[in-house]
Amino acid sequence: MDIILMLIPAALLISVVAIVVFYWSVNSDQYEDMDGEAYRILMDDDDELIPGNAKRVKEKQETSPKQDKA
C-alpha cells in the first residue's frame, strides 16, 4: 500500500503537466476556430512535403504567369 505515496505525486505531476499544456493552448488561441481545423486536415496540400515533389511544385509556381495580370 505504501506504493500509493509514490503514485499520488506521480498522478499529480501528470495532471499538472496536462493543465499547463492546456493553459498554453488556450493562450495561443487554439480554441478560437473549432470548425475550421476539422476540415483543414482533409485538404491534401502536403505535396511539397513529399520528397521529390518539392522541386516540381516549386517550378510550377515559378513558371505560372504573374498574378497581377487581371
Binding site: V26, M34, G36
Partner: protein, 840 residues
C-alpha cells in the same frame, strides 16, 4: 438570379449558379473549356488556376450555390495610411506588422485553404491564417516588401472582400471572459480527476475496510484539492450569490453556494474529527458540471453574435477632400475629416459624413434611413447624411457633423438606449429559485427539529446537513443553460442566429408579430407588373424605351431595362441624341433610326399631366387603379400623345402568405408596418389575406422615428411584440420589441439591434418560434427532472439514511439526465425542418 433564366448547362464552374439565357462565358481552364455564369466568376477562376491552386475546385462542395464573387474594396489604398492603420495594425519587435481582416464571401472550408495558399505565394508575407468560424484572417507581413492594400487586392482577385477588423473593447472583454471560464472549467476537471481517485479508494474502504491512516490521508488530500477548486473555479458563484443577497434577490448561484458551502463545511468537520462522511467528490463534480453548462451556454451565445457583422462597414473609410483652391482632390482617411471640410462625392460613392450640399445636383439613395426605396433629389443647400449612397451626379458638400454627432451614430445610440431600457424578463429557472431555496431551508429546519426531539443533537445536525447537501441544485442550474446552449447552437445551423439565450424563452410568449413591409415582406427588388403599348408597333416602342432607359441609372429604369432585354428587345436599332435627365420627373431624348426621328419622354404621371398631354378618362382610371395596388406607374409619351405605360413594383416574397397564415393559426396576431402610403399597404395586405381569414393589422405612413412608438403602444396594451425588419430605420424598433429579428440581407445596424438574425426566407420566423417552443419545453422538462430527483432523495436525507456514495451517484446522474434531455432538441428540430421543407 431569375428562375426563368436557367439553361440546363449544369451551372457555373466557379460559383455553381445557373447560367443565364445569354449563354455561358467560356474560358480555357487548364486546357479544358469551362462554362461560367459571368465574367467575374471566369476571371476569379482563371487567377486561381494560374496560381496553381486549381485543386480548390476539388475541395469545394460539388453542389454549390455561391453568390457572385466579392471584390476588393475600391479604396484599399486607404489602409496603407499610417493614421488608418493605427486602429487595427500592431507592430512586432522585428518590424513586421500584424493585423486582423474580416473576410466576406467565405462559404466553405476550401475557401480557407484557397485564401491561405494564395497569400502564402506573396513575397514578404509572414503568416496568413483564416478562422473559418469567425471569417477572420490573421495576417503578418513585412511592410518594406508588401503593402496591406496589395494583400487586400490579391484577396479581392480570388473573389473575397477583406476589410480591417478592429477588436473593440467589448470584444476583448468577451474573449477574456470566455478564456477565464475555460480555465476555471478545466481546473475543476483536473480537481475532479484527482479527488475521484481518492474517493474510489474511500468508497472501497467503506465496504472492504481501510486503515484509519490511509482513509485520513485520502480525506486530507481531497480536501486540499477541493479548497483549490472552490477558491478558483467556484469563486464566481459565491461573489454572484453574495451580490444577489445584498440586493435581497435570489439567483441560481445562491442555492449553488449554499450546497457547496454546507457540503464543504460538513466534510471538513468530518475530516478533522474523523466522524461522519466526506462529500469532496460530489462537490468537485458539482462545480465541474455547472461550469461545463455555463461554458457551453456562453460559447453558443458568442458564436451567434460574432456572425453578425460590424457597424463601421456602413460608413466609407475615406473621403475626397478638396483643398483651398477647390481643385486638388485628396483621398483622406475619414477620421481626419473635420467639420467644415469641403468634400467631393462622386457617383456611386457613399456619403462619408453628414453635410450640406454646396454645389452640384444628384440623387441620393436614403433607403437606409427612411426605408423609401426611391432616391431623393439633392441640390445646393440640401442636407446629406453619412452612409447614404450617391447615385448619379457629383456633389460638393461641406461637412457639418462628423463622428458621434452624425445621424448614423445617433441611430446607433437610439438602439443602445432601447436595448438598455428594455426590461429583461427573468428566466423561468430564476423564478423557481426563491421557492426552491425556501422549501429546502424549511425542510432542513423541520428535519433538525424532528431529530433533536427524537434523538440527539448530533443526529439532528447530521440529517439537516445531508438534506442541504443532497438537494442538488446542479440539475436545476443546468436545466436552462444546457437547453439554451443546444437551442442557440442549433439556431446557427438552422439559419436562425440567436444572439441571447433569453430570446428562446421569450419567443414562446410572443403574441403579436410586426412585419416591416419593404425588404421584409417584399423582396425589395423592383419588378415589372404590366407593360402596355397603346398603339402601333410594340417592338419598336419597347426597343426605343430600352434605348432611352439604358442611359439612366435610376433604379426604376434599371428594373425596366432588365425586364425589356430579358423579353428580347434590343436597343441596337436606335441611336440616341439629346438625352436629358429631368430631375424628379424622368428622362427624355431623341431616338433616331434611319430618317425616322422620335422625341420620347419617359417619366412620372405628374410629368405627363404637366406636359399637357391629354389622355382619356378611362386610361387615367386604369393607371390610377394600378397605383392603388401599390405599384408605380411610368408613362411613355411624346409631346402630343401617350404611347404606353408600365406598372412596376416591389414583389411579395413567395412564402410570406403561408408564413403569415401559419402564424395566425398558431394564435399570433400579425401586423404590417410601413412608411408607405396607406393604399399601398392595403394592397399588400389584400394580396396576403386572400389566403386566410383573420384580418391583418395595418400601420401605414409611419415615419421612421415613430416605428418605436408603435411598438411601445402595442406593448402598453400588454402584448409581447416580436418585430421582423431589415432597414436601419427599423433598428430602434427592433431593439424596442420584446424580440427583434433581422432578415438575412439586413443592414448591419439592424442586425446589431436585433436578438436574432434570420438567414433565409420568412419561414425562418416559424423555425425560430418552433426552436424556442422546443427549447422552452425542454427547459420545463429539465426543471421537472431536477425537482423530481429532489423529491426522491429528500425523504432519504430527512430520514438520515444518505450515504455519500448515494450522493456521488445520484447527483451527477440527475445532471446527465438533464444534459441528454437537452440534446433531444436536435432530433426534434430536424423533424420540424423536414416538415417545413415539405410545406414549401
Amino acid at each position: 438570379m431569375n428562375d426563368s433564366n436557367i439553361t440546363d448547362a449544369g451551372g457555373c464552374f466557379h460559383c455553381g449558379l445557373p447560367i443565364p439565357v445569354g449563354g455561358p462565358v467560356d474560358f480555357q481552364i487548364d486546357g479544358k473549356t469551362e462554362h461560367f455564369c459571368c465574367q467575374a466568376c471566369a476571371q476569379v477562376c482563371q487567377i486561381i488556376n494560374d496560381a496553381g491552386l486549381g485543386r480548390f475546385y476539388e475541395y469545394a462542395p460539388e453542389e454549390r450555390q455561391w453568390e457572385t464573387p466579392e471584390s476588393a474594396p475600391e479604396d484599399a489604398e486607404i489602409f496603407d495610411h499610417f493614421e488608418v492603420q493605427q486602429d487595427f495594425v500592431t507592430q512586432r519587435p522585428d518590424g513586421s506588422l500584424q493585423a486582423q481582416l474580416l473576410i466576406e464571401g467565405i462559404h466553405c472550408p476550401a475557401c480557407v485553404w484557397l485564401i491561405e495558399h494564395t497569400l502564402q505565394q506573396m513575397d514578404g508575407l509572414l503568416g496568413a491564417e483564416v478562422n473559418y468560424t469567425k471569417h477572420r484572417l490573421k495576417l503578418s507581413w513585412k511592410p518594406e516588401l508588401l503593402k496591406l492594400s496589395d494583400i487586400i487586392r490579391q484577396i479581392g482577385r480570388i473573389g473575397y472582400c477583406a476589410l480591417p477588423f478592429e477588436e473593440d473593447e467589448a470584444f476583448r472583454r468577451a474573449k477574456e471572459k470566455r478564456q477565464d471560464l475555460m480555465f476555471r472549467m478545466v481546473f475543476a476537471g483536473f480537481v475532479v480527476a484527482n479527488v475521484m481517485t481518492a474517493a474510489v479508494c474511500l468508497y472501497a474502504g467503506d465496504f472492504l475496510g481501510i486503515d484509519e491512516r490511509w482513509s485520513s490521508l485520502f480525506k486530507w488530500y481531497s480536501m486540499a484539492f477541493t479548497i483549490a477548486t472552490i477558491g478558483y473555479s467556484a469563486r464566481n458563484f459565491f461573489t454572484s450569490a453574495l451580490r444577489a443577497v445584498k440586493v435581497r434577490r435570489l439567483n441560481m448561484d445562491v442555492p449553488i453556494s449554499i450546497g457547496i458551502g454546507v457540503s464543504f463545511a460538513a466534510s471538513v468537520w468530518a475530516t478533522v474529527t474523523g466522524e461522519g462522511h466526506v462529500y469532496y467528490d460530489s462537490i468537485a463534480m458539482f462545480i465541474f458540471l455547472i461550469l461545463i453548462g455555463r461554458y457551453l451556454e456562453l460559447a453558443a451565445r458568442e458564436s451567434a453574435s460574432s456572425s453578425t457583422r460590424h457597424l463601421l462597414a456602413l460608413l466609407p473609410r475615406s473621403a475626397r477632400v478638396l483643398g483651398e483652391s477647390g481643385e486638388d482632390e485628396k483621398l483622406v482617411p475619414l477620421r481626419l475629416v473635420k467639420s467644415g471640410a469641403i468634400l467631393r462625392i462622386k457617383p456611386g460613392d457613399k456619403v462619408p459624413v453628414d453635410g450640406i450640399v454646396i454645389s452640384g445636383e444628384s440623387r441620393i439613395d436614403e433607403s437606409m434611413l427612411s426605408g423609401e426605396s426611391l432616391p431623393v433629389h439633392k441640390s445646393s443647400g440640401s442636407k446629406v447624411v453619412g452612409g447614404t449612397i450617391n447615385i448619379n451626379g457629383t456633389l460638393t458638400i461641406e461637412a457639418t457633423d462628423v463622428g458621434h454627432r452624425s445621424v448614423l451614430s445617433q441611430i446607433v445610440e437610439m438602439v443602445e438606449t432601447a436595448q438598455n431600457t428594455r426590461v429583461r424578463v427573468q428566466g423561468i429557472a430564476d423564478r423557481i429559485v426563491p421557492y426552491f431555496v425556501a422549501v429546502i431551508l424549511a425542510l432542513a429546519v423541520i428535519t433538525f427539529m424532528f431529530w433533536i426531539w427524537q434523538e440527539s443533537a448530533a443526529m439532528a445536525i447530521m440529517a439537516a446537513v445531508s438534506v442541504l447537501i443532497i438537494t442538488c441544485p446542479c440539475a436545476l442550474g443546468l436545466a436552462t443553460p444546457m437547453a439554451v446552449a443546444v437551442g442557440a447552437g442549433l439556431g446557427g445551423k438552422l439559419g436562425t442566429l440567436i444572439k441571447t439565450g433569453d430570446v428562446l424563452e421569450q419567443l414562446t410568449s410572443v403574441d403579436h408579430i410586426v412585419f416591416d413591409k419593404t425588404g421584409t415582406l417584399t423582396s425589395g427588388k423592383i419588378r415589372i407588373h404590366q407593360a402596355v403599348c397603346l398603339q402601333g408597333d410594340q417592338t419598336g416602342l419597347f426597343s426605343q424605351v430600352l434605348t432611352l432607359e439604358s442611359h439612366s441609372e435610376h433604379p426604376l429604369a434599371q428594373a425596366l431595362t432588365g425586364y425589356l432585354s430579358e423579353q428580347g428587345y434590343r436597343s441596337s436599332d436606335y441611336r440616341l441624341e439629346a438625352f436629358e435627365n429631368v430631375p424628379g420627373r424622368g428622362i427624355e431624348g431623341l431616338l433616331i433610326k434611319g430618317n425616322e426621328k422620335t422625341g420620347l419622354r419617359i417619366g412620372s404621371l405628374g410629368w405627363l399631366e404637366n406636359a399637357g398631354v391629354s389622355i382619356t378618362a378611362d386610361l387615367r382610371r386604369q393607371m390610377e387603379s394600378r397605383e392603388s395596388l401599390g405599384l408605380t406607374v411610368i408613362a411613355v409619351f411624346t409631346e402630343q400623345e401617350l404611347l404606353g405605360w408600365f406598372a412596376l413594383g416591389d414583389e411579395l416574397r413567395p412564402e410570406a402568405g403561408s408564413v403569415i397564415s401559419h402564424l395566425q393559426q398558431a394564435g399570433i396576431e400579425v401586423s404590417i408596418l410601413s412608411g408607405d402610403r396607406k393604399a399601398v399597404v392595403e394592397a399588400i395586405a389584400a394580396q396576403l389575406s386572400s389566403q386566410h381569414q383573420p384580418p391583418l393589422h395595418l400601420m401605414a405612413e409611419v415615419l421612421p422615428g415613430d416605428k418605436t412608438e408603435r411598438i411601445k403602444a402595442l406593448q402598453k396594451q400588454g402584448m409581447k411584440v416580436c418585430m421582423v425588419g431589415d432597414g436601419i430605420n427599423d433598428a430602434p424598433a427592433l431593439a424596442q420589441a420584446d424580440v427583434g429579428m433581422a432578415v438575412a440581407h439586413a443592414t448591419d445596424v439592424s442586425a446589431h439591434a436585433s436578438d436574432a438574425v434570420l438567414l433565409g426566407g420568412l419561414e425562418k420566423v416559424r423555425m425560430a418560434i418552433e426552436l424556442s417552443t422546443q427549447t422552452m419545453r425542454t427547459i420545463k422538462q429539465n426543471l421537472g427532472i431536477s425537482l423530481g430527483y429532489n423529491v426522491l432523495v429528500i425523504p432519504l436525507a430527512m430520514a438520515g439514511l444518505v450515504h455519500p456514495l448515494l450522493a456521488a451517484i445520484a447527483m451527477p446522474a440527475s445532471s446527465l439526465l438533464v444534459i441528454f434531455n437537452a440534446l433531444r432538441i436536435r432530433s426534434k428540430m430536424k423533424r420540424f425542418e423536414t416538415k417545413l421543407q415539405q410545406e414549401i
